[in-house]
């Protein structure tokens, strides 16, 4: 079998005395969605930052197409085709669609000798931004419109379209649905499926199993800096994933605890009703 597009082997990352990641391994291939699940503090962000070049792993190795690589900066990772779409940090709301789309990669055409003083080919940039957004199914009326006028889901799509346009092979989506409503989240999930269909590898970070399950092909579950395991979708049900994420026994204990609350709730609730009745009586008197 050919080597997967991206492979992480025994990644360890420590910050001083804190062990953020302790030997995590996983992989993702072309046309595959890897879902990275874990509770807050499980090490999802650290793993992603390691893969996108923000952190350098303390030990362990990243492989791309089977070749070992070392990323010293986010720029290095981008050159290898790894693009990260951060939840809030990718898009500037006060700038236009075009300016956002080409941020850092402005097309200056032939006048490269001017360096950053090169004149941006605005018509080309406007047209491309519009086209690429249209490919993702969003019709931009005016590429000079300020991104602040777009919805949260559309902004995510802009960041995704941009990453694809600039040659991303691996797309890392950091909590893309966290701040979105149900409908908006659905829109983003649809685009994730679309990106997979284009043959990109997608790493989708979330703690919401209900968003992860429909689009994922593969799950890696992180717990306290360690990998709880990597499973293909065929192997596990939604409930299995949820149980593993929260920790099966812990969840059972929690359920038992919640039952306790339910039982003790019944008695005081009648007292509460009495209180409410007394209050409305006072209001009646005032009226």
């Amino acid at each position: 079998m050919a080597a997967p597009l991206v492979e992480l082997k025994d990644i360890v990352k420590t910050f001083g005395s804190v062990i953020a990641l302790n030997g995590v391994s996983t992989s993702v291939d072309k046309g595959q969605v890897l879902c990275l699940l874990g509770d807050n503090g499980a090490g999802k962000s650290t793993l992603i930052k390691t893969l996108s070049g923000v952190h350098i792993p303390t030990s362990g190795q990243i492989y791309i197409d089977g070749q070992p690589v070392t990323f010293k900066s986010p720029r290095d990772a981008q050159r290898s085709g790894i693009a990260t779409v951060h939840q809030h940090l990718s898009i500037q709301p006060l700038m236009s669609v075009t300016r956002n789309f080409f941020m850092g990669n402005e097309p200056t055409g032939a006048n490269k000798w001017l360096g950053p003083l090169g004149i941006v080919q605005k018509d080309f940039a406007d047209q491309k931004a519009k086209e690429e957004m249209a490919k993702m199914g969003i019709d931009i009326r005016d590429p000079n419109q300020v991104v602040g006028t777009m919805s949260g889901g559309e902004r995510q799509v802009l960041a995704i379209a941009r990453a694809i346009y600039f040659g991303a092979r691996v797309l890392i989506l950091d909590e893309p649905t966290a701040a979105l409503g149900v409908k908006q989240a659905g829109v983003v999930l649809k685009y994730i499926a679309q990106v997979r269909a284009k043959g990109l590898a997608v790493v989708f970070i979330t703690h919401n199993v209900h968003h992860a399950y429909p689009v994922a092909d593969k799950f890696t579950i992180l717990k306290r800096g360690q990998s709880y395991g990597t499973f293909m979708k065929e192997e596990v049900s939604r409930e299995d994933v949820l149980n593993m994420m929260a920790g099966g026994e812990e969840l059972a204990a929690l359920e038992a605890e919640l039952k306790e609350f339910e039982r003790s709730d019944t008695a005081p609730s009648s007292r509460l009703e009495a209180g409410a009745a007394a209050q409305s009586a006072v209001q009646d008197n005032r009226g």
Binding site: P74, T108, M150, E154
Partner: protein
């Protein structure tokens, strides 16, 4: 989603034409400039003409606007890049000393002093930018420190060079190189290929004005001028203005260059990105630290251009030159629609902002019945109105769904 994408009709377009005009950052400043212009034209109306529109009056308020506008350009670009520079005024003081002292005390050619001073300006900007980048402190604090440091340095060095005075004066040239009096000293400084660009009038404009005076388009009056051949002062019939002040030329040229830089170039996009959200711009590969250093350099160079314009006109560098100019630069940027938080703004807006500032400052003097003391009140109210308007615009831009 998709409420902004048109589902059907033309109606959306019509509204958006007006909205687009409203949401241009410079719109408020342009409207304000028109308002102030009309106001002073009417207020100064006497005997069938407006004192505010007289040749000499226009030259006066244009020149004053230009001086503020030049530093306003630097401040605007820097503010769009997300930083402040409060050391602008002190840089004006320091560089006016650095440019004049070598000429009058050590016999340098003016062009040598000018080039060295511009290099020093770049260095001062580099220091500001590097410190802000390295320390991560707000530029407000870092440059506030340099406001005091540079002003103090100017005082210390001026006193040391002059043996206790607080100004270096062109007078010191008298007696060197066969220079006999102050007018000759001025002539000596002005007769330099580079210092010509910082003194007098825009190239060619005195000839144009002379021509317009001859054919009667500009009124002439009897004025006393220096006869270049005899060195005597003689009376001549001359147009009431000498030409377009060179500061106005610098202002317009720098404004056009800055607009192209910001709107059209790659660096312009980086400036917006750096000010809007530095981390996301960095993630996209924008060298935000270098952008900031460049912007601080630009601010310092703008300040230095102004300081040289003033020094070559006044013929002296005073310790307090440029005081409070840092705030005037920021006022001009804010009136022009630039956000204090960065990432949004316009150089054209700063142009109109400087014009508003200049028209009010000089207009109050031209309108006879208006007490000069009102100037600061007008300015404060104008500033407040501009900020309120900007906040409103930003809300429209970000919240309209």
């Amino acid at each position: 989603m998709a409420t902004t994408t048109p589902t059907s009709d033309e109606r959306v377009r019509e509204v958006s034409w007006f909205n687009r005009l409203l949401s241009r950052p410079e719109f408020g400043a342009l409207a304000g400039a028109l308002l102030v212009f009309i106001m002073f034209t009417v207020f100064s109306w006497e005997d069938g003409s407006s004192g505010f529109l007289g040749w000499r009056a226009v030259t006066t308020w244009l020149k004053f606007s230009a001086e503020i506008g030049i530093i306003g350009i630097g401040a605007t670009l820097l503010m769009i890049g997300g930083e402040f520079d409060l050391s602008v005024g002190s840089i004006i003081g320091l560089t006016s000393l650095i440019v004049l002292a070598p000429i009058v005390l050590y016999g340098w050619a003016p062009w040598q002093a000018i080039l060295i001073t511009l290099a020093v300006a770049v260095l001062l900007g580099w220091i500001n930018g590097t410190l802000v980048n390295r320390t991560g402190l707000p530029s407000f604090i870092v440059t506030l420190a340099f406001l005091y440091i540079y002003r103090g340095l100017t005082l210390v060095v001026t006193r040391a060079l002059t043996g206790g005075a607080t100004r270096v004066d062109i007078q010191a040239l008298v007696g060197q190189n066969g220079i006999e009096d102050v007018p000759q000293a001025r002539e000596f400084i002005r007769n330099d290929w580079l210092s010509q660009m910082f003194s007098g009038e825009v190239w060619g404009s005195p000839q144009l004005v002379g021509f317009l005076g001859n054919i009667g388009l500009i009124p002439v009056t009897e004025r006393r001028v220096l006869d270049p051949e005899t060195g005597q002062r003689i009376a001549m019939e001359l147009p009431i203005i000498d030409g377009i002040p060179v500061a106005v030329g610098w202002w317009i040229v720098l404004t056009i260059l800055a607009i192209i830089l910001l709107q059209r170039t790659q660096l312009g996009n980086w400036i917006f990105g750096t000010g809007g959200h530095a981390e996301s711009a960095r993630n996209m590969g924008v060298p935000t630290n270098r952008v900031k250093i460049l912007l601080f350099m630009g601010t310092a160079v703008c300040a230095t251009i102004l300081s040289m314009l003033q020094v070559f006109e006044a013929g002296s560098s005073e310790v307090l030159r440029g005081q409070l100019k840092e705030f005037e630069a920021i006022i001009v940027a804010v009136i022009g629609g630039t956000l204090l938080t960065g990432g949004y703004g316009s150089v054209a807006g700063a142009f109109w902002g400087a014009l508003i500032y200049g028209m009010i400052a000089r207009g109050v003097e031209i309108v006879r019945w208006m007490p000069n003391d009102w100037f600061r009140i007008f300015l404060g109210v104008g500033l407040l109105a501009a900020v309120l308007f900007n906040t409103y615009i930003r809300k429209r831009a970000t919240e309209a769904r």
